[in-house]
Amino acid sequence: MENLLPLFVAIPLAGGFLMPVLGRFFGPGRSSAILPILMVAGVLVLAVRLVLLPDAQTPPYWMGAWDFPIGVSLVADGLSKLVVLLVALISLLVLVFSMDYMTHYTHPGLYYGLFMLLLAGMNGVVLAGDLFNLFVFIEVAGIASYALVAFGTEADELEAAFKYLVLGSIASTFVLVAIAIVYNVTGHLNLAKIAEALRAGGGLTVPIYLAAAFLLMGFALKAALVPFHAWLPDAHPSAPAPISAMLSGLLIKACGVYVLFRLVFAVFAGAEVFGIILVVLGTLSMVLGVLMAVGQWDFKRLLAYHSISQMGYVVLAIGAAAVMQARGLDDAVVALALFGGLFHLANHAVFKSLLFLCSGSVEYATGTRQLKLLGGVGRRMPVTGACLRVAALSISGVPPLNGFWSKLIIVLALVLGGFYTLAIITVIVSFVTLLSFAKVQRYVLGGEPSEATARAREVPFAMCLASIFLAVLCLASALLVLPSVRERLVDPAVAVLKAAVHLPPASDAEPSTVALDAAGRVP
Protein backbone atom coordinates (compact mmCIF):
# COMPACT_ATOMS: atom_id res chain seq x y z
CA MET A 1 0.00 0.00 0.00
CA GLU A 2 2.73 2.46 0.79
CA ASN A 3 3.85 2.31 -2.84
CA LEU A 4 0.67 4.10 -3.66
CA LEU A 5 1.27 7.04 -1.33
CA PRO A 6 2.70 9.29 -4.08
CA LEU A 7 -0.52 8.77 -6.01
CA PHE A 8 -2.33 10.95 -3.49
CA VAL A 9 -0.34 13.83 -4.91
CA ALA A 10 0.28 12.57 -8.45
CA ILE A 11 -3.35 11.99 -9.44
CA PRO A 12 -4.60 15.48 -8.51
CA LEU A 13 -1.48 17.01 -10.07
CA ALA A 14 -2.21 15.24 -13.34
CA GLY A 15 -5.75 16.57 -13.13
CA GLY A 16 -4.43 20.05 -12.46
CA PHE A 17 -2.25 19.95 -15.55
CA LEU A 18 -4.85 18.38 -17.81
CA MET A 19 -7.97 20.33 -16.96
CA PRO A 20 -7.05 23.80 -18.29
CA VAL A 21 -6.33 22.25 -21.66
CA LEU A 22 -9.25 19.83 -21.70
CA GLY A 23 -11.65 22.49 -20.50
CA ARG A 24 -11.52 23.94 -23.95
CA PHE A 25 -12.91 20.73 -25.40
CA PHE A 26 -15.61 20.21 -22.83
CA GLY A 27 -17.07 23.62 -23.17
CA PRO A 28 -18.67 25.77 -20.49
CA GLY A 29 -21.22 23.27 -19.24
CA ARG A 30 -21.21 20.64 -16.56
CA SER A 31 -19.22 18.02 -18.45
CA SER A 32 -15.83 19.45 -17.40
CA ALA A 33 -16.49 18.06 -13.96
CA ILE A 34 -16.53 14.42 -14.95
CA LEU A 35 -12.79 13.82 -15.10
CA PRO A 36 -12.05 15.64 -11.81
CA ILE A 37 -14.82 13.74 -10.05
CA LEU A 38 -13.41 10.45 -11.31
CA MET A 39 -9.93 11.38 -10.15
CA VAL A 40 -11.03 12.49 -6.71
CA ALA A 41 -13.18 9.38 -6.35
CA GLY A 42 -10.03 7.37 -7.03
CA VAL A 43 -8.16 9.33 -4.37
CA LEU A 44 -11.01 8.71 -1.94
CA VAL A 45 -10.85 4.96 -2.56
CA LEU A 46 -7.12 5.06 -1.86
CA ALA A 47 -7.71 7.10 1.28
CA VAL A 48 -10.28 4.65 2.62
CA ARG A 49 -7.91 1.77 1.97
CA LEU A 50 -5.16 3.68 3.72
CA VAL A 51 -7.26 4.37 6.79
CA LEU A 52 -8.29 0.75 7.16
CA LEU A 53 -4.67 -0.39 7.43
CA PRO A 54 -3.01 -0.15 10.83
CA ASP A 55 0.01 2.08 11.25
CA ALA A 56 2.46 -0.80 11.24
CA GLN A 57 1.54 -1.69 7.70
CA THR A 58 2.06 1.79 6.29
CA PRO A 59 5.68 2.63 6.84
CA PRO A 60 7.10 5.81 5.35
CA TYR A 61 7.56 5.82 1.63
CA TRP A 62 10.97 6.91 0.43
CA MET A 63 10.80 8.68 -2.91
CA GLY A 64 13.37 7.76 -5.49
CA ALA A 65 14.48 4.83 -3.36
CA TRP A 66 16.79 7.10 -1.38
CA ASP A 67 16.85 5.95 2.20
CA PHE A 68 16.77 7.53 5.64
CA PRO A 69 18.09 10.07 6.54
CA ILE A 70 18.75 11.92 3.31
CA GLY A 71 15.76 10.75 1.31
CA VAL A 72 12.47 12.54 0.86
CA SER A 73 9.71 10.63 2.56
CA LEU A 74 5.95 10.50 2.57
CA VAL A 75 4.60 9.54 5.97
CA ALA A 76 1.14 8.14 6.60
CA ASP A 77 0.73 7.78 10.35
CA GLY A 78 -2.52 7.99 12.27
CA LEU A 79 -2.84 11.77 12.13
CA SER A 80 -2.15 11.94 8.38
CA LYS A 81 -4.63 9.19 7.65
CA LEU A 82 -7.46 10.96 9.41
CA VAL A 83 -6.84 14.23 7.61
CA VAL A 84 -6.31 12.55 4.21
CA LEU A 85 -9.65 10.78 4.51
CA LEU A 86 -11.36 14.02 5.50
CA VAL A 87 -9.79 15.94 2.63
CA ALA A 88 -10.69 13.33 0.01
CA LEU A 89 -14.27 12.93 1.17
CA ILE A 90 -15.12 16.61 1.41
CA SER A 91 -13.32 17.46 -1.85
CA LEU A 92 -15.42 14.91 -3.68
CA LEU A 93 -18.66 16.33 -2.31
CA VAL A 94 -17.59 19.90 -3.04
CA LEU A 95 -16.71 18.87 -6.60
CA VAL A 96 -20.15 17.37 -7.08
CA PHE A 97 -21.60 20.65 -5.83
CA SER A 98 -19.40 22.73 -8.17
CA MET A 99 -20.65 20.80 -11.16
CA ASP A 100 -23.77 22.92 -11.21
CA TYR A 101 -22.63 25.95 -9.27
CA MET A 102 -19.82 26.84 -11.67
CA THR A 103 -22.21 27.15 -14.59
CA HIS A 104 -22.55 30.72 -13.34
CA TYR A 105 -18.87 31.34 -14.09
CA THR A 106 -16.76 31.25 -17.24
CA HIS A 107 -13.74 28.99 -17.77
CA PRO A 108 -14.67 25.87 -15.79
CA GLY A 109 -11.52 24.18 -17.13
CA LEU A 110 -9.35 26.68 -15.26
CA TYR A 111 -11.46 26.27 -12.13
CA TYR A 112 -11.12 22.50 -12.05
CA GLY A 113 -7.41 22.73 -12.81
CA LEU A 114 -6.86 25.05 -9.86
CA PHE A 115 -9.12 22.91 -7.67
CA MET A 116 -7.05 19.81 -8.40
CA LEU A 117 -3.85 21.72 -7.66
CA LEU A 118 -5.35 22.80 -4.34
CA LEU A 119 -6.18 19.19 -3.56
CA ALA A 120 -2.69 18.03 -4.58
CA GLY A 121 -1.14 20.64 -2.34
CA MET A 122 -3.25 19.68 0.65
CA ASN A 123 -2.55 15.98 0.20
CA GLY A 124 1.14 16.76 -0.09
CA VAL A 125 1.14 18.80 3.12
CA VAL A 126 -0.57 16.06 5.06
CA LEU A 127 1.66 13.28 3.79
CA ALA A 128 4.98 15.14 3.78
CA GLY A 129 7.68 13.64 5.93
CA ASP A 130 10.22 16.39 5.68
CA LEU A 131 10.10 20.07 6.37
CA PHE A 132 10.88 21.51 2.98
CA ASN A 133 8.36 19.43 1.06
CA LEU A 134 5.83 20.57 3.62
CA PHE A 135 6.67 24.15 2.68
CA VAL A 136 6.54 23.49 -1.07
CA PHE A 137 3.13 21.85 -0.89
CA ILE A 138 1.79 24.62 1.33
CA GLU A 139 2.86 27.04 -1.38
CA VAL A 140 1.23 24.96 -4.11
CA ALA A 141 -2.04 24.85 -2.21
CA GLY A 142 -1.68 28.51 -1.29
CA ILE A 143 -1.11 29.77 -4.82
CA ALA A 144 -4.05 27.72 -6.07
CA SER A 145 -6.24 29.16 -3.32
CA TYR A 146 -5.17 32.77 -4.02
CA ALA A 147 -6.16 32.33 -7.65
CA LEU A 148 -9.42 30.60 -6.73
CA VAL A 149 -10.44 33.37 -4.32
CA ALA A 150 -10.04 35.85 -7.17
CA PHE A 151 -11.86 33.60 -9.63
CA GLY A 152 -14.85 35.85 -10.13
CA THR A 153 -12.58 38.84 -10.91
CA GLU A 154 -15.00 41.36 -9.48
CA ALA A 155 -13.61 44.26 -7.46
CA ASP A 156 -14.37 42.71 -4.05
CA GLU A 157 -12.88 39.40 -4.93
CA LEU A 158 -9.68 40.88 -6.32
CA GLU A 159 -9.19 43.02 -3.24
CA ALA A 160 -9.78 40.04 -0.97
CA ALA A 161 -7.40 37.88 -2.99
CA PHE A 162 -4.72 40.56 -2.90
CA LYS A 163 -4.95 40.89 0.86
CA TYR A 164 -4.93 37.11 1.27
CA LEU A 165 -1.94 36.78 -1.03
CA VAL A 166 0.14 39.42 0.72
CA LEU A 167 -0.53 38.04 4.19
CA GLY A 168 -0.10 34.45 3.08
CA SER A 169 3.22 35.27 1.47
CA ILE A 170 4.47 36.91 4.65
CA ALA A 171 3.56 33.73 6.49
CA SER A 172 5.35 31.57 3.94
CA THR A 173 8.44 33.74 4.10
CA PHE A 174 8.52 33.41 7.88
CA VAL A 175 8.21 29.65 7.54
CA LEU A 176 11.13 29.58 5.14
CA VAL A 177 13.26 31.64 7.55
CA ALA A 178 12.42 29.11 10.24
CA ILE A 179 13.41 26.24 7.93
CA ALA A 180 16.74 27.96 7.27
CA ILE A 181 17.39 28.31 11.01
CA VAL A 182 16.36 24.73 11.77
CA TYR A 183 18.60 23.41 9.01
CA ASN A 184 21.46 25.50 10.31
CA VAL A 185 21.08 24.13 13.82
CA THR A 186 20.27 20.48 13.18
CA GLY A 187 21.61 19.82 9.69
CA HIS A 188 18.59 17.79 8.66
CA LEU A 189 15.26 18.43 7.03
CA ASN A 190 13.54 15.12 7.74
CA LEU A 191 10.96 15.66 10.49
CA ALA A 192 11.88 12.51 12.36
CA LYS A 193 15.58 13.29 12.18
CA ILE A 194 14.99 16.84 13.41
CA ALA A 195 13.00 15.49 16.33
CA GLU A 196 15.83 13.13 17.14
CA ALA A 197 18.48 15.80 16.82
CA LEU A 198 16.57 18.23 19.02
CA ARG A 199 16.13 15.69 21.75
CA ALA A 200 19.68 14.49 21.59
CA GLY A 201 21.38 17.83 21.27
CA GLY A 202 20.37 19.42 24.53
CA GLY A 203 16.88 20.45 23.68
CA LEU A 204 15.52 23.83 22.87
CA THR A 205 18.18 26.47 22.50
CA VAL A 206 17.73 30.11 21.53
CA PRO A 207 17.95 29.58 17.74
CA ILE A 208 15.34 26.86 18.02
CA TYR A 209 13.07 29.19 19.95
CA LEU A 210 13.54 31.78 17.21
CA ALA A 211 12.69 29.20 14.56
CA ALA A 212 9.69 28.05 16.58
CA ALA A 213 8.48 31.64 16.89
CA PHE A 214 8.65 32.13 13.13
CA LEU A 215 6.95 28.80 12.52
CA LEU A 216 4.18 29.54 14.97
CA MET A 217 3.58 32.96 13.40
CA GLY A 218 3.54 31.55 9.90
CA PHE A 219 1.21 28.65 10.59
CA ALA A 220 -1.03 30.60 12.93
CA LEU A 221 -1.63 32.91 9.98
CA LYS A 222 -2.43 29.97 7.74
CA ALA A 223 -4.82 28.65 10.37
CA ALA A 224 -6.36 32.09 10.83
CA LEU A 225 -5.92 32.39 14.57
CA VAL A 226 -6.36 35.78 16.15
CA PRO A 227 -4.33 38.08 15.77
CA PHE A 228 -3.32 36.62 12.42
CA HIS A 229 -6.83 36.34 11.08
CA ALA A 230 -7.21 39.54 9.08
CA TRP A 231 -7.33 37.88 5.69
CA LEU A 232 -10.02 35.32 6.38
CA PRO A 233 -13.16 37.49 6.73
CA ASP A 234 -12.44 39.00 3.32
CA ALA A 235 -11.13 35.97 1.46
CA HIS A 236 -13.65 33.31 2.41
CA PRO A 237 -16.81 35.24 1.50
CA SER A 238 -15.39 36.48 -1.80
CA ALA A 239 -14.50 33.07 -3.15
CA PRO A 240 -17.11 31.06 -5.06
CA ALA A 241 -19.13 29.01 -2.58
CA PRO A 242 -17.51 25.62 -3.23
CA ILE A 243 -14.09 27.22 -2.79
CA SER A 244 -15.21 28.85 0.44
CA ALA A 245 -16.17 25.38 1.60
CA MET A 246 -12.76 24.04 0.61
CA LEU A 247 -10.88 26.92 2.22
CA SER A 248 -12.81 27.03 5.46
CA GLY A 249 -13.42 23.33 5.70
CA LEU A 250 -10.06 21.98 4.66
CA LEU A 251 -7.30 24.46 3.91
CA ILE A 252 -7.09 26.16 7.30
CA LYS A 253 -6.96 22.70 8.81
CA ALA A 254 -4.61 20.84 6.48
CA CYS A 255 -2.18 23.71 5.98
CA GLY A 256 -2.59 25.44 9.30
CA VAL A 257 -3.76 23.50 12.30
CA TYR A 258 -2.45 20.08 11.22
CA VAL A 259 1.05 21.43 10.65
CA LEU A 260 0.96 23.27 13.98
CA PHE A 261 0.18 20.05 15.79
CA ARG A 262 2.73 18.05 13.87
CA LEU A 263 5.45 20.58 14.62
CA VAL A 264 4.61 21.39 18.21
CA PHE A 265 4.24 17.79 19.26
CA ALA A 266 6.43 15.72 17.01
CA VAL A 267 9.28 18.10 16.36
CA PHE A 268 9.48 20.51 19.24
CA ALA A 269 8.76 17.87 21.87
CA GLY A 270 5.61 19.53 23.14
CA ALA A 271 7.27 21.86 25.58
CA GLU A 272 4.94 23.62 27.94
CA VAL A 273 5.61 27.09 26.53
CA PHE A 274 4.24 26.06 23.14
CA GLY A 275 1.17 24.62 24.78
CA ILE A 276 0.57 27.87 26.62
CA ILE A 277 0.96 29.87 23.43
CA LEU A 278 -1.54 27.62 21.68
CA VAL A 279 -3.97 27.94 24.59
CA VAL A 280 -3.75 31.75 24.47
CA LEU A 281 -4.16 31.89 20.68
CA GLY A 282 -7.03 29.42 20.82
CA THR A 283 -8.92 31.27 23.50
CA LEU A 284 -8.46 34.63 21.76
CA SER A 285 -9.68 33.19 18.46
CA MET A 286 -12.65 31.53 20.09
CA VAL A 287 -13.84 34.63 21.88
CA LEU A 288 -13.04 37.32 19.33
CA GLY A 289 -14.24 35.22 16.42
CA VAL A 290 -17.68 34.69 17.84
CA LEU A 291 -17.99 38.27 19.08
CA MET A 292 -17.23 39.61 15.63
CA ALA A 293 -19.55 37.09 14.04
CA VAL A 294 -22.59 38.09 16.03
CA GLY A 295 -22.88 41.50 14.41
CA GLN A 296 -22.51 40.36 10.82
CA TRP A 297 -25.31 40.69 8.28
CA ASP A 298 -23.51 39.08 5.36
CA PHE A 299 -24.14 35.36 5.48
CA LYS A 300 -20.74 34.19 4.28
CA ARG A 301 -18.81 36.75 6.29
CA LEU A 302 -20.62 35.50 9.39
CA LEU A 303 -19.65 31.94 8.56
CA ALA A 304 -16.04 33.04 8.03
CA TYR A 305 -15.85 34.60 11.49
CA HIS A 306 -17.32 31.45 12.97
CA SER A 307 -14.52 29.49 11.29
CA ILE A 308 -12.03 31.55 13.27
CA SER A 309 -13.92 30.81 16.45
CA GLN A 310 -14.20 27.07 15.88
CA MET A 311 -10.54 26.78 14.97
CA GLY A 312 -9.92 28.40 18.32
CA TYR A 313 -11.70 25.46 19.95
CA VAL A 314 -9.42 22.95 18.27
CA VAL A 315 -6.23 24.83 19.03
CA LEU A 316 -7.31 25.42 22.62
CA ALA A 317 -7.97 21.72 23.14
CA ILE A 318 -4.67 20.61 21.77
CA GLY A 319 -2.72 23.36 23.50
CA ALA A 320 -4.33 22.38 26.78
CA ALA A 321 -3.33 18.79 26.10
CA ALA A 322 0.29 19.86 25.61
CA VAL A 323 0.25 21.88 28.84
CA MET A 324 -1.35 19.03 30.75
CA GLN A 325 1.18 16.57 29.45
CA ALA A 326 4.10 18.83 30.27
CA ARG A 327 2.78 19.27 33.80
CA GLY A 328 2.48 15.54 34.19
CA LEU A 329 -1.26 15.18 34.50
CA ASP A 330 -3.04 11.92 34.02
CA ASP A 331 -2.53 10.28 30.66
CA ALA A 332 -6.22 9.63 30.15
CA VAL A 333 -7.06 13.33 30.48
CA VAL A 334 -4.41 14.26 27.92
CA ALA A 335 -5.80 11.65 25.55
CA LEU A 336 -9.29 13.01 26.12
CA ALA A 337 -8.22 16.57 25.28
CA LEU A 338 -6.40 15.40 22.15
CA PHE A 339 -9.41 13.36 21.10
CA GLY A 340 -11.71 16.32 21.64
CA GLY A 341 -9.55 18.58 19.54
CA LEU A 342 -9.18 16.14 16.66
CA PHE A 343 -12.86 15.18 16.78
CA HIS A 344 -13.84 18.83 16.60
CA LEU A 345 -11.46 19.30 13.68
CA ALA A 346 -13.19 16.54 11.75
CA ASN A 347 -16.64 17.78 12.73
CA HIS A 348 -15.91 21.33 11.79
CA ALA A 349 -14.70 20.27 8.36
CA VAL A 350 -18.02 18.54 7.79
CA PHE A 351 -20.47 21.10 9.10
CA LYS A 352 -18.60 24.20 7.96
CA SER A 353 -18.41 22.91 4.38
CA LEU A 354 -22.10 22.13 4.58
CA LEU A 355 -22.82 25.65 5.82
CA PHE A 356 -20.85 27.23 2.99
CA LEU A 357 -22.43 24.95 0.40
CA CYS A 358 -25.89 25.87 1.66
CA SER A 359 -25.01 29.54 1.53
CA GLY A 360 -23.86 28.90 -2.02
CA SER A 361 -27.17 27.24 -2.85
CA VAL A 362 -29.05 30.18 -1.38
CA GLU A 363 -26.94 32.60 -3.38
CA TYR A 364 -27.38 30.54 -6.55
CA ALA A 365 -31.13 30.64 -6.19
CA THR A 366 -31.72 34.14 -4.84
CA GLY A 367 -28.67 36.10 -5.95
CA THR A 368 -27.87 37.65 -2.60
CA ARG A 369 -26.13 36.82 0.64
CA GLN A 370 -27.37 39.65 2.84
CA LEU A 371 -29.38 38.27 5.74
CA LYS A 372 -31.77 41.21 5.72
CA LEU A 373 -32.72 40.56 2.10
CA LEU A 374 -33.39 36.87 2.57
CA GLY A 375 -36.33 35.23 4.20
CA GLY A 376 -38.58 32.26 3.90
CA VAL A 377 -35.96 30.23 2.13
CA GLY A 378 -37.08 27.21 4.11
CA ARG A 379 -40.39 27.19 2.33
CA ARG A 380 -39.15 27.84 -1.19
CA MET A 381 -36.12 25.51 -1.03
CA PRO A 382 -36.97 22.64 1.31
CA VAL A 383 -33.86 20.51 0.79
CA THR A 384 -31.39 23.34 1.22
CA GLY A 385 -33.36 24.63 4.17
CA ALA A 386 -33.28 21.29 5.94
CA CYS A 387 -29.55 20.86 5.34
CA LEU A 388 -28.90 24.37 6.56
CA ARG A 389 -30.85 23.66 9.71
CA VAL A 390 -28.87 20.48 10.35
CA ALA A 391 -25.59 22.32 9.86
CA ALA A 392 -26.62 25.25 12.06
CA LEU A 393 -27.69 22.89 14.85
CA SER A 394 -24.38 20.99 14.49
CA ILE A 395 -22.20 24.03 14.85
CA SER A 396 -24.26 25.30 17.76
CA GLY A 397 -23.66 22.09 19.61
CA VAL A 398 -27.14 20.67 19.81
CA PRO A 399 -27.37 16.96 20.67
CA PRO A 400 -27.27 14.42 19.11
CA LEU A 401 -25.42 16.05 16.22
CA ASN A 402 -21.65 15.89 15.98
CA GLY A 403 -20.84 19.37 17.28
CA PHE A 404 -22.35 18.61 20.65
CA TRP A 405 -20.13 15.63 21.34
CA SER A 406 -16.86 17.25 20.39
CA LYS A 407 -17.60 20.41 22.37
CA LEU A 408 -18.68 18.32 25.34
CA ILE A 409 -15.47 16.35 25.26
CA ILE A 410 -13.38 19.50 25.04
CA VAL A 411 -15.17 21.06 28.02
CA LEU A 412 -14.84 17.82 30.01
CA ALA A 413 -11.14 17.61 29.28
CA LEU A 414 -10.62 21.22 30.35
CA VAL A 415 -12.53 20.65 33.59
CA LEU A 416 -10.66 17.44 34.35
CA GLY A 417 -7.39 19.19 33.64
CA GLY A 418 -8.15 21.97 36.06
CA PHE A 419 -8.69 24.79 33.55
CA TYR A 420 -12.00 25.89 35.01
CA THR A 421 -12.01 29.41 33.60
CA LEU A 422 -11.29 28.16 30.12
CA ALA A 423 -14.09 25.64 30.39
CA ILE A 424 -16.53 28.36 31.40
CA ILE A 425 -15.35 30.56 28.51
CA THR A 426 -15.82 27.64 26.12
CA VAL A 427 -19.38 27.09 27.28
CA ILE A 428 -20.20 30.80 26.97
CA VAL A 429 -18.74 30.95 23.46
CA SER A 430 -20.77 27.91 22.52
CA PHE A 431 -23.88 29.64 23.75
CA VAL A 432 -23.12 32.78 21.75
CA THR A 433 -22.59 30.58 18.68
CA LEU A 434 -26.04 29.15 19.27
CA LEU A 435 -27.49 32.66 19.42
CA SER A 436 -25.71 33.66 16.24
CA PHE A 437 -27.04 30.71 14.32
CA ALA A 438 -30.50 31.16 15.73
CA LYS A 439 -30.36 34.59 14.12
CA VAL A 440 -29.20 33.04 10.84
CA GLN A 441 -31.96 30.49 10.87
CA ARG A 442 -34.60 33.07 11.65
CA TYR A 443 -33.53 35.47 8.95
CA VAL A 444 -32.76 32.96 6.23
CA LEU A 445 -35.18 30.12 6.81
CA GLY A 446 -38.03 31.63 8.73
CA GLY A 447 -40.32 34.51 8.04
CA GLU A 448 -42.06 35.55 4.88
CA PRO A 449 -40.38 35.11 1.50
CA SER A 450 -38.76 38.38 0.54
CA GLU A 451 -38.67 39.58 -3.03
CA ALA A 452 -35.32 37.93 -3.57
CA THR A 453 -36.53 34.55 -2.42
CA ALA A 454 -39.90 34.83 -4.12
CA ARG A 455 -38.42 33.83 -7.44
CA ALA A 456 -36.14 31.17 -5.95
CA ARG A 457 -36.51 27.54 -6.83
CA GLU A 458 -34.75 24.53 -5.43
CA VAL A 459 -31.22 24.16 -6.70
CA PRO A 460 -30.22 21.46 -9.23
CA PHE A 461 -29.94 17.85 -8.20
CA ALA A 462 -26.16 17.60 -7.89
CA MET A 463 -26.04 20.47 -5.43
CA CYS A 464 -28.83 18.94 -3.38
CA LEU A 465 -27.08 15.59 -3.41
CA ALA A 466 -23.84 17.05 -2.06
CA SER A 467 -25.70 18.95 0.67
CA ILE A 468 -27.73 15.93 1.73
CA PHE A 469 -24.63 13.75 1.86
CA LEU A 470 -22.85 16.23 4.08
CA ALA A 471 -25.89 16.53 6.33
CA VAL A 472 -25.94 12.76 6.70
CA LEU A 473 -22.22 12.94 7.50
CA CYS A 474 -23.02 15.46 10.24
CA LEU A 475 -25.21 12.87 11.86
CA ALA A 476 -22.86 9.99 11.11
CA SER A 477 -19.70 11.58 12.42
CA ALA A 478 -21.38 11.84 15.78
CA LEU A 479 -20.80 8.11 15.82
CA LEU A 480 -17.09 8.77 16.17
CA VAL A 481 -17.78 9.00 19.86
CA LEU A 482 -18.54 5.30 19.99
CA PRO A 483 -15.47 3.29 21.01
CA SER A 484 -15.45 0.87 18.10
CA VAL A 485 -15.49 3.59 15.47
CA ARG A 486 -13.19 5.82 17.43
CA GLU A 487 -10.49 3.21 17.79
CA ARG A 488 -10.32 2.77 14.06
CA LEU A 489 -10.23 6.37 13.03
CA VAL A 490 -9.24 8.85 15.70
CA ASP A 491 -7.27 6.88 18.27
CA PRO A 492 -4.27 6.31 16.00
CA ALA A 493 -4.07 10.05 15.50
CA VAL A 494 -4.26 10.65 19.25
CA ALA A 495 -1.56 8.04 19.75
CA VAL A 496 0.75 9.80 17.31
CA LEU A 497 0.43 13.09 19.12
CA LYS A 498 0.78 11.58 22.55
CA ALA A 499 3.66 9.25 21.75
CA ALA A 500 5.67 12.03 20.22
CA VAL A 501 5.64 13.95 23.45
CA HIS A 502 6.43 10.91 25.49
CA LEU A 503 9.69 10.35 23.67
CA PRO A 504 12.35 9.70 26.28
CA PRO A 505 15.43 11.93 26.24
CA ALA A 506 18.21 10.45 24.18
CA SER A 507 20.30 8.03 26.20
CA ASP A 508 23.82 7.03 25.31
CA ALA A 509 22.50 5.11 22.33
CA GLU A 510 23.78 6.39 19.01
CA PRO A 511 21.23 8.48 17.15
CA SER A 512 21.50 6.34 14.06
CA THR A 513 20.38 3.25 15.89
CA VAL A 514 17.40 4.87 17.52
CA ALA A 515 14.55 3.26 15.70
CA LEU A 516 12.68 6.37 14.74
CA ASP A 517 11.27 5.67 11.36
CA ALA A 518 8.49 8.15 11.02
CA ALA A 519 7.66 11.64 12.13
CA GLY A 520 8.18 11.13 15.82
CA ARG A 521 6.70 7.69 15.95
CA VAL A 522 8.37 5.14 18.20
CA PRO A 523 7.56 1.63 17.04
Binding site: E154, A155, V166, T173, I179, G295, Q296
Partner: protein, 124 residues
Protein backbone atom coordinates in the same frame (compact mmCIF):
# COMPACT_ATOMS: atom_id res chain seq x y z
CA UNK B 1 29.65 41.01 17.47
CA UNK B 2 32.11 39.12 15.33
CA UNK B 3 32.52 40.02 11.72
CA UNK B 4 31.35 36.72 10.28
CA UNK B 5 27.86 37.32 11.69
CA UNK B 6 27.54 40.45 9.54
CA UNK B 7 26.05 38.78 6.42
CA UNK B 8 23.35 37.11 8.52
CA UNK B 9 22.45 40.43 10.11
CA UNK B 10 22.29 42.06 6.70
CA UNK B 11 20.01 39.32 5.43
CA UNK B 12 17.66 39.89 8.35
CA UNK B 13 17.87 43.64 7.80
CA UNK B 14 16.81 43.11 4.20
CA UNK B 15 13.92 40.98 5.44
CA UNK B 16 12.81 43.79 7.72
CA UNK B 17 13.10 46.34 4.90
CA UNK B 18 10.88 44.16 2.73
CA UNK B 19 8.41 43.73 5.57
CA UNK B 20 8.32 47.48 6.09
CA UNK B 21 7.58 48.12 2.43
CA UNK B 22 4.86 45.49 2.55
CA UNK B 23 3.20 46.89 5.62
CA UNK B 24 3.66 50.65 5.42
CA UNK B 25 3.25 51.46 1.75
CA UNK B 26 -0.09 52.15 0.15
CA UNK B 27 0.77 51.70 -3.48
CA UNK B 28 0.09 48.20 -4.74
CA UNK B 29 3.29 48.13 -6.78
CA UNK B 30 5.37 49.09 -3.77
CA UNK B 31 3.73 46.29 -1.82
CA UNK B 32 4.71 43.89 -4.59
CA UNK B 33 8.28 45.16 -4.47
CA UNK B 34 8.30 44.64 -0.72
CA UNK B 35 7.14 41.07 -1.28
CA UNK B 36 9.98 40.53 -3.72
CA UNK B 37 12.56 41.96 -1.35
CA UNK B 38 11.37 39.68 1.43
CA UNK B 39 11.60 36.63 -0.84
CA UNK B 40 15.09 37.45 -1.93
CA UNK B 41 16.20 38.19 1.62
CA UNK B 42 15.18 34.70 2.67
CA UNK B 43 16.97 33.24 -0.35
CA UNK B 44 20.07 35.11 0.72
CA UNK B 45 19.71 33.71 4.22
CA UNK B 46 19.53 30.21 2.78
CA UNK B 47 22.71 30.82 0.76
CA UNK B 48 24.46 31.87 3.94
CA UNK B 49 23.24 28.77 5.75
CA UNK B 50 24.97 26.56 3.22
CA UNK B 51 28.29 28.38 3.27
CA UNK B 52 31.22 26.35 4.42
CA UNK B 53 34.94 26.90 4.01
CA UNK B 54 37.24 23.95 4.61
CA UNK B 55 40.97 24.27 4.86
CA UNK B 56 41.19 28.03 4.86
CA UNK B 57 41.14 28.44 1.11
CA UNK B 58 38.36 29.66 -1.10
CA UNK B 59 34.96 28.00 -0.87
CA UNK B 60 34.52 25.29 -3.45
CA UNK B 61 31.41 24.98 -5.55
CA UNK B 62 29.80 21.50 -5.51
CA UNK B 63 30.36 20.82 -9.20
CA UNK B 64 31.78 17.42 -10.12
CA UNK B 65 34.55 18.09 -12.63
CA UNK B 66 36.63 15.17 -13.97
CA UNK B 67 39.50 15.77 -11.55
CA UNK B 68 37.35 15.43 -8.42
CA UNK B 69 35.69 12.50 -6.73
CA UNK B 70 32.37 12.55 -4.88
CA UNK B 71 34.25 12.14 -1.61
CA UNK B 72 36.13 15.38 -2.29
CA UNK B 73 32.86 17.16 -2.89
CA UNK B 74 31.35 15.81 0.30
CA UNK B 75 34.36 16.86 2.33
CA UNK B 76 35.24 20.26 0.96
CA UNK B 77 32.46 21.80 -1.06
CA UNK B 78 29.81 24.26 -0.01
CA UNK B 79 26.66 22.48 1.15
CA UNK B 80 24.52 21.95 -1.95
CA UNK B 81 21.24 21.21 -0.18
CA UNK B 82 20.35 24.84 0.63
CA UNK B 83 21.03 25.67 -3.00
CA UNK B 84 18.34 23.25 -4.06
CA UNK B 85 16.04 24.85 -1.51
CA UNK B 86 16.84 28.29 -2.92
CA UNK B 87 16.06 27.21 -6.48
CA UNK B 88 12.69 25.94 -5.38
CA UNK B 89 12.08 29.09 -3.39
CA UNK B 90 12.97 31.28 -6.37
CA UNK B 91 10.48 29.41 -8.54
CA UNK B 92 7.78 29.76 -5.90
CA UNK B 93 8.57 33.46 -5.63
CA UNK B 94 8.25 33.79 -9.38
CA UNK B 95 4.85 32.13 -9.41
CA UNK B 96 3.55 34.30 -6.58
CA UNK B 97 4.91 37.42 -8.29
CA UNK B 98 3.22 36.51 -11.55
CA UNK B 99 -0.06 35.99 -9.74
CA UNK B 100 0.14 39.18 -7.71
CA UNK B 101 1.05 41.26 -10.75
CA UNK B 102 -1.93 39.82 -12.63
CA UNK B 103 -4.09 40.70 -9.62
CA UNK B 104 -2.63 44.23 -9.60
CA UNK B 105 -3.48 44.75 -13.27
CA UNK B 106 -7.04 43.65 -12.72
CA UNK B 107 -7.29 45.71 -9.52
CA UNK B 108 -6.31 48.79 -11.48
CA UNK B 109 -8.90 47.90 -14.05
CA UNK B 110 -11.68 47.60 -11.51
CA UNK B 111 -10.81 50.37 -9.07
CA UNK B 112 -9.03 52.83 -11.34
CA UNK B 113 -6.23 53.38 -8.87
CA UNK B 114 -3.27 51.65 -7.27
CA UNK B 115 -3.91 53.20 -3.89
CA UNK B 116 -4.87 50.53 -1.35
CA UNK B 117 -6.40 53.20 0.83
CA UNK B 118 -9.14 53.61 -1.74
CA UNK B 119 -9.85 49.88 -2.05
CA UNK B 120 -12.08 49.56 0.96
CA UNK B 121 -15.10 47.73 -0.44
CA UNK B 122 -14.82 44.99 2.16
CA UNK B 123 -15.15 46.20 5.66
CA UNK B 124 -16.56 45.28 9.06
Amino acid sequence: MTLHMLPYLLAFLLLVVGLYALVAKRNVIKVIVGLLIMDYAVNLLLVLVGYRVVGGGAPMAPILTPDLTPADIAARAVDPLPQALILTSIVIGLSVTALVVALAIRLYDRYGTFDTGRMRNLRG
